[in-house]
């Protein structure tokens, strides 16, 4: 019994060569502390790129550079070049608000607004002028919830507060909120660290589905999650990018000794 559909290895879609974002010589200083050192990394389109490494290695710092959230931290300074589709995101002429609509973010702790589920999703489209109200807005809200795999669970309580959902549902709500503004890139900072295994599996399946339409960069302290979810993995250590490559290669045959040591649990 051989199924014809399985004649090629699944999930072996050839990775696109299109580069969505690229960091060249990126450095971040928090006051005197040199948190990120000379990082050169490419994020390819329609792929999930995982950033792994021990605590304090700079992976979250790097993630926050990609949508300029480091600007909000007092005393943070970013040097180097980071481009989105070829345009420098730190360019003075670029509107940060517009950048953050193109590069969305999901945080570690699910943080829905203390508003209704509907208003949570509708907030982004409203402030970016994607839809004012009425059926246009309804459509955006419903399709975002559907893509996040949450619509069936909440469709008859859209007016209840978003904070009344379970942890896993809240995180999917935050993902739906992020995709409601039709970003091109979604950044996820340890999105499953506050969730139980079942909720985590649901979010990972969601990430797999989202890959078709978005580029995803995920920071995770669980290497196993990085192995399950990503196509490319980058290993950070003490602020430096040590190794980056195809996930399968990194986890079966890493080149660098530090990478091998971290993955096999020999340090950190």
């Amino acid at each position: 019994m051989i199924s014809e559909a399985q004649s090629t290895q699944p999930n072996s879609r050839p990775s696109s060569d299109a580069v969505k974002m690229r960091a060249t010589g990126a450095n971040v200083y928090y006051g005197e502390k040199h948190a990120l050192k000379e990082v050169n990394l490419e994020i390819k389109s329609h792929e999930v790129t995982a950033l792994i490494g021990p605590s304090g290695c700079g992976k979250s710092t790097f993630l926050r550079c990609l949508n300029r959230m480091n600007d909000l931290i007092e005393g943070a300074r970013v040097t180097g070049e980071i481009v989105l589709d070829g345009h420098d995101i730190y360019d003075r002429d670029l509107d940060v608000v517009h950048l953050r609509a193109r590069v969305g973010m999901v945080f570690q702790k699910p943080n829905p607004f203390p508003k209704s589920i509907y208003d949570n999703i509708a907030y982004g489209p409203r402030i970016h002028g994607l839809a004012k109200s009425g059926p246009d807005l309804d459509e955006i809200v419903i399709s975002s919830l559907e893509r996040a795999g949450l619509y069936a669970e909440v469709k008859d309580r859209l007016n209840e507060p978003g904070t009344g959902l379970s942890g896993g549902q809240q995180q999917r709500l935050c993902i739906a909120r992020a995709i409601a503004v039709s970003p091109e890139v979604i950044l996820m900072d340890e999105p499953c660290s506050a969730l139980d295994p079942i909720a985590t599996a649901k979010v990972e399946e969601l990430i797999d589905e989202l890959r078709e339409n978005f580029t995803i960069v995920i920071v995770t302290h669980s290497m196993q999650q990085a192995a399950r979810v990503s196509q490319r993995t980058a290993f950070f250590h003490l602020g430096e990018l040590v190794e980056v490559g195809a996930t399968e290669k990194i986890f079966t045959n890493p080149q660098h000794k530090l990478t091998q040591g971290y993955i096999t649990g020999r340090f950190g």
Partner: protein, 436 residues
């Protein structure tokens, strides 16, 4: 499946510890009991003081809510009040109702008919307000001219005080022996009764205690407070939002913060002096007006509101701000749409505290002249007016005995206003909270 067996050998029971540890444990329990006792005793003392304070005020002021009325047989003699028979409003308005009252008194006490002294004495039993009552009745319905009826009219404050027992039944009450005798007769005949004192709530201030009311003061306080809220709330919240969310954190903002904290502790009379100088002398605003009172109270309450609003804004969790900004909200949108609504309960609490202080402040109001004797109810915030705390001060300073109980009554009204304000604000705060 292998079975797990529990050995019952030398497992010590949970809770058994050494003797020393046992002693320390007991000492800890005793210390805890003592601590709780301290707490209970403190609360008991506080409640005791509160009970004593409220009790004494209520005891003194309760009687002010009733007024003595005397029943007199009044004939609305057309000859006296409307000799021309025109029933014209102006004529009726300025007619001589005093005569009607005197006639009624004679009818009631026929024995005083020829005794002028007795007549004068007995007139002291009736309030000047009785004439106003009769006038009101006639103007309302001129058809009663020519009829007679037994009408309850307000008694004088002297008679009122004697009936309530606040004044002794002798010369010191202000009534002569003759008047007192008639007083007793009327009382025995059931012609003296205590009724609810509507004048307290419908009249402005007056030299006659029985006619003195709080409405002027209440309206004056209301206008002052309305202006205070209208000015200090937006200014305070806006200042707090700017300082907390938008201003750069440097030495200048630190300096401003220190100064605001100091201002919150400044005695309010200093603000009164400031108001006197700037608003009255330099800007020439009308004296004794609730507008100026409101401005002075704004100065008093602004630092409190700013400080509590800043604390409320600081308490909004940072991940709300991150979520909003991560979505692409500008700083202003983040503050207006998310941070401010979440901080509202805290801000409202701070505003309640500030307003509760403002309604009871008399020092700045005294400085700007709201201490005058104002009879009319202010129609607009720029008319001269007085305020509740000032009214309390004025009545407390008056010599008439009847004002003693009215002072306490005024305090009770002030406390009631405070309670209503607090309740409203707490309701509003709860309403905001539930919306999430």
């Amino acid at each position: 499946m292998t079975e797990i067996s529990m050995t019952q050998s030398a497992t010590p029971k949970v809770g058994t510890i050494g003797a020393d540890a046992e002693k320390r444990l007991q000492a800890r329990y005793r210390a805890e009991k003592r601590f709780r006792a301290y707490g209970l005793v403190s609360i008991a003392i506080a409640l005791l003081f509160l009970a004593v304070l409220l009790g004494s005020i209520i005891a003194k002021g309760a009687s002010a809510f009733t007024q003595t009325y005397i029943e007199l047989p009044v004939t609305f003699d057309a000859a006296t009040i409307d000799p021309d028979g025109t029933r014209e409003h102006g004529a009726l308005s300025s007619a001589d109702y005093r005569t009607l009252i005197n006639d009624a008194l004679e009818k009631k006490f026929p024995e005083i008919a020829d005794d002028r002294t007795a007549k004068r004495d007995v007139q002291k039993l009736v309030s000047a307000g009785a004439e106003l009552e009769l006038r009101k009745m006639v103007l309302a319905d001129p058809k009663i001219i020519g009829t007679s009826a037994d009408i309850w009219l307000p008694a004088s404050s002297a008679a009122d005080q004697v009936l309530k027992g606040n004044a002794a039944h002798d010369d010191s009450s202000g009534l002569s022996d003759g008047a007192l005798a008639k007083f007793d007769a009327a009382k025995a005949a059931g012609a003296l009764k205590r009724r609810f004192n509507t004048y307290l709530f419908t009249n402005g201030d007056s030299r006659q205690p029985e006619l003195a009311g709080l409405i002027g003061a209440v309206v004056g306080s209301f206008y002052s407070l309305a202006i205070t809220i209208a000015l200090s709330f937006p200014l305070g919240v806006a200042a707090a939002v700017y300082l907390e969310e938008f201003a750069a954190k440097n030495r200048w903002t630190d300096l401003i913060e220190v100064n605001i904290n100091n201002l919150a502790a400044v005695p309010s009379i200093v603000f009164g002096l400031l108001a006197l100088e700037i608003f009255l002398n330099v800007l020439g605003l009308p004296r004794s007006a609730p507008l100026v009172g409101g401005l002075a109270l704004t100065l008093v309450s602004l630092p409190t509101i700013i400080i509590s609003a800043r604390v409320a804004l600081k308490a909004v969790p940072p991940w709300i701000r991150e979520a909003a900004q991560g979505l692409g909200a500008s700083r202003q949108q983040m503050v207006m749409h998310h941070v401010l609504p979440l901080a509202m309960p805290g801000i409202l609490t701070g505003t309640i505290i500030a307003m509760a202080r403002a309604i009871g402040e008399s020092a700045p109001l005294l400085m700007i002249g709201m201490v005058a004797f104002v009879v009319d109810v202010p129609a607009t915030p720029v008319d001269p007016a007085t305020a509740l705390p000032v009214q309390v001060y004025l009545w407390a300073a008056s010599p008439e005995r009847a004002f003693v109980e009215r002072t306490s009554a005024a305090i009770l009204v002030l406390l009631a206003c405070l309670a209503v304000m607090n309740a409203t604000a707490i309701y509003l705060r709860k309403k905001f909270e539930r919306r999430w």
